[in-house]
Amino acid sequence: MTETARKIEALLFLSPEPLPLDILADLVEADSDVTQSAIDELVERHSEAGGLEITEIAGGFALRTRADLEDVCDRLRRRPPEDRLSPAALETLAVVAYLEPVSRPDIGRLRGVAVDSTVANLVDRGLLEEAGRIASTGAMRYRTTRAFQERFGLRDGGDLPPIERFELSGPQADELRARLVEAGHLLQAPTGLREVPSPVAADDE
């Protein structure tokens, strides 16, 4: 294979659009004759014996899969997307589901890590959506979507398993507790038990 043909093979492989001869010639810094004969070389290389072909289409040249391989290509396209939820995504969904509507900073505070990219990703995947801004701070709040409910087999937003353990303490935790109780996810602890000091967490550092 000539060097020009190698270059054109790489270019046609990468380009999502057909590439016209003059643009190809420009990219490989050759005149159009040299470019054309390099294309001829590639047409021969990608013959019926292989899985790909060079085609002249829509005013340019393109590399594409051969038509007789349609079935196997469709199988790839129909493959269910790998859509597992990472631990980060699952935790973020859990926070939003139980506390919605809730702002990103609030989610981050509870998770103890920044959640910007996780939230953006879950919005992209259609599992979270925006739910208006907090008037005082302008922070966007989020809630779960219908697609989320479908995925987790929930009848509606409130249909979540009740929380059994709540071991956080401190003023922020009290506020959190109140929100969970109000939303019906956490049973009100009997008075008198509320001020149990949280066990000193063993430090594993």
């Binding site: 269910p80 926070v95 929380i163 967490a201």
Partner: protein, 237 residues
């Protein structure tokens, strides 16, 4: 502030401007005179106002160890303690630990260099990132609401900010310690270091020593120590 490496942060003193670790090297090689070095300023520059927020516990304690080592070195020279013949076994041990850590960490530095080479070698290849034209999207896999509950439980169980809360912030500043020493000295001409720091946490004790050294540097006090590791007497001039 996002300084990746506290030892590479710049310190800005009259005597020296540049990265902290370079200053350490110069001090150790005796190219910067420890007598001239304003330790209080240096500690302020290295740890800053809000060390607990800038560095995690491990880093802060490591900086404190480094600063304490400098304080100890300075103390020895100020007090004219014999340096050469009898090295402090504790200091030698601390330095051995430093070597041990450097040796333990060396493989990861070498691995980082290996990774950098790999990245270099593959940097030229390009992938065809043309999305598959999807038909109607297949149904996503099902989730279990109990997974959500479990994920939430993990957070409700976890302390949300595990970093420094268990340590308690040492809210003591150098001016405060200098003031405390001066107050003690106002009452009598000399005070015992042990008496001043009695019952104080170790960090505060170390910083009080630095404050005493600072007063000595300013010529306000004289320090004397009868026996190595014994009490230090602080005498007002």
């Amino acid at each position: 502030m996002a300084v990746a490496d506290p030892l590479q942060q710049d310190v800005d003193l009259d005597l020296f401007q540049g990265p902290f670790d370079l200053l350490l090297t110069l001090v150790i090689r005796e190219e910067v005179d420890l007598f001239e070095l304003p330790l209080a300023e240096l500690i302020h520059a290295a740890l800053g106002e809000h060390a607990g927020e800038r560095w995690d516990a491990a880093t802060t304690s490591e900086l404190v160890v480094v600063l304490a080592a400098m304080a100890e070195l300075k103390a020895r020279r100020l007090l004219g303690e014999p340096e050469e013949d009898e090295p402090d076994p504790d200091a030698a041990e601390a330095r051995e630990r430093l070597v041990a850590r450097l040796i333990a960490y060396a493989p990861f530095q070498a691995a980082a260099a290996w990774l950098a080479e790999r990245a270099e070698a593959t940097a030229g290849a390009r992938y065809r990132r043309v999305p598959l034209q999807l038909g109607p999207a297949p149904a996503p896999p099902k989730g279990d609401p109990r997974d959500l509950l479990e994920a939430l439980h993990r957070m409700l169980h976890a302390r949300p900010e595990p970093s420094l809360t268990h340590m308690g912030q040492a809210r003591v500043s150098m001016p405060e310690l200098l003031g405390r020493l001066r107050d003690a000295l106002a009452a009598g001409r000399e005070v015992s270091f042990d008496a001043v720091v009695d019952g104080r946490p170790a960090l505060e004790e170390a910083l009080t020593l630095v404050a005493a050294l600072e007063l000595a540097r300013r010529g306000e006090v004289r320090l004397s120590q009868a026996v190595p590791f014994g009490d230090i007497t602080i005498v007002r001039r």
